[in-house]
Amino acid sequence: MAVTEQPRVEPGQWNLIERVHPAWWVLGFILLVMPLLANDFWLFQVFGWTFILGMIALSMMFLAGYGGMVSLIQMTVAALGGYMVAILGTSGVAEISQGLPWWVYVPAAILIAAAFGTLVGALAVRTEGIYTIMITLAIASAFFYFARQNYGLFNGYSGFNLVVPPMLFGVDWRGAVPFYYLTLGCAVLSYAAVVYVSRSPFGLALQGVRDNPRRMAALGYSVNAHRIAAYTFASAIAAVGGILLVWQNAQISPGTAGIPAVIDILVIAVVGGIKRPIGPFIGALIYVVLRTFSPDVLLAFGLSGERFKLLIGMGFLIVVFFSPDGVLGLWEKWQARKPRDPLKGGR
């Protein structure tokens, strides 16, 4: 699975220094010192959003890449996590928000959203392949319409505003620099978790279920149980992404879980590449940059700034046509073209 040149490792080893390619260290360093290089807008709006969307897309990538299940419910799970923070914590809608402390509502939101994801998984795993897309899309739509109509819990069309992170250690976590590090930290943790789990017994079994469910059943695995458990794991990651999202926007409304948002996550995951966990983050960066700066580009061409959706849609189509494995796929094809070293045999 790893393409870089490193010594073959047992399923167990986790030897940091030897294993990690130098490129990662460079990237890590740049990310750490970014606040010195970039302004507040870039830190909060571009990178913050990239990490958040990347996490939600990572959750989709885990299910699709390792589990072979393309699920469109991840954005909904994230939104539910965000909604729970607003409902259980503080917001501008005093009649509904419970005002619980953060160390109650954050875990509660993650649990509730993960439970929802597990439930959807239980419904979706009884069918295969494209049916999963249909069913998860239908459930995601149902959630959107329900949240929009329900005023008792979700506050309907308006949703919740003034949802901000708690003031911890005297830091305003919604400030540009703290928020950058918060989202960076969560993104790194979820990325590391996915990479680690992918070679754990659970992760290996999930890939086995992806490649050959019949064989896995004949090896003693309950295929459905594994798939559902995968939904739980992925939903936990999406839920964290959703909490960060509601804090970033300081508000949440049904549109956060609307079909366009759901499809955007799919676009991000596919464009980045669903075979490896870095793909979703690449896709998220491309999406966020396009989304933020294309209106200006479009205006320069005399088109309305609103046509960015058209750009993204066409970009997505081009990627699916020519490189179904996304940007990662292009990278791997380019790598494969490099001439082999006649002495070493490898690249």
Partner: protein, 344 residues
Amino acid sequence: MGREPLLQRFASRHPIWTLLVAIVAAGLLWLIFAPWSDGLEDAIGKKKVFLNAVFGGVTLGALYFLVAAGFTLIFGLMRNVNLAHGSLYLLGGYLGFEVSEATGSWLLAFPVVFVVVAILGLLLQHVVFRRMEGQELRQTMVTIGLSVVLADIMLWIWGGQSYTILTPDLLSGPVELPVISSIRADTGDVIWFKFPAVRIAILIAAIVIGVAMWLVLNRSRLGMLIRAGVDDREMLAASGVRIQYVFLAVFAFGAGLAGIGGIVGGTFQSLTPGEDTRFLLASLVVVIVGGMGSIPGAALGAVIIGLAEQLGLVYAPTYSVVFTFLIMAVVLAFRPQGLLGAGR
């Protein structure tokens, strides 16, 4: 798609369910045709409201059937989950609006829109999907990309406001149906139920189209090829049939149906951005409930979902969406292939 007598088979295997369904159906028929007592009306509201909801639900189901039938055919035969189906619906609606505005004829919009959207479907199948034979996931992604692009183009051309297609004079106004609405207490005169004529016309048209589709599928050579292809695509291709022509025909037809569904929807309701998503979702739910690749399934699912939506809207407005979702979840939990879907 219709082998042994389905009803007999179902009745013999599941006697309790059959009894329950028969009771519910009988109850519904009684509620519709028998005059209501005052006590009943005090309890659940006027009969006219109920009748409006029921007929509204059935005619909405007719609209859903038109759109979902094409969707289920395309999936059943070509295993292509066409998530751009809703966009075809909306495009058909907008085009229908333009045609009826330009020519002043509502009826003329139908053949024109059918042909135009069918040609678009033909192009899509021939240029795009044919190259992705067997890569179901990739095809689905392409349809998603297409839906995004089409939605934005339509937004560009027609903007965000809502359009309604005017009902032709011939069909505007109510028609009287042989269903008792109420009985005047003083004179004992029967007041018959009145319902918009255009909706009844669409219901009849949908039934005719549905029956015609069923006949073609079950009695014609083309239909036999399609059914064989749904059962086993490789066999059909191996038997020398020019399977690509069958695919083209089915995709074009399905797309055309979605297009004229747009005209109907534009007349019943309105056309706005977002309706494409709504009708895609409705098609998905109808087909999940009714069964993939099954025309009778699409009809059954459409009627159930249409009724659930309308009855829910009238009697429990906040939760009508939940009803639809609950029905879908229950079907998924107990019969994942859909009510009339082929068992897997």
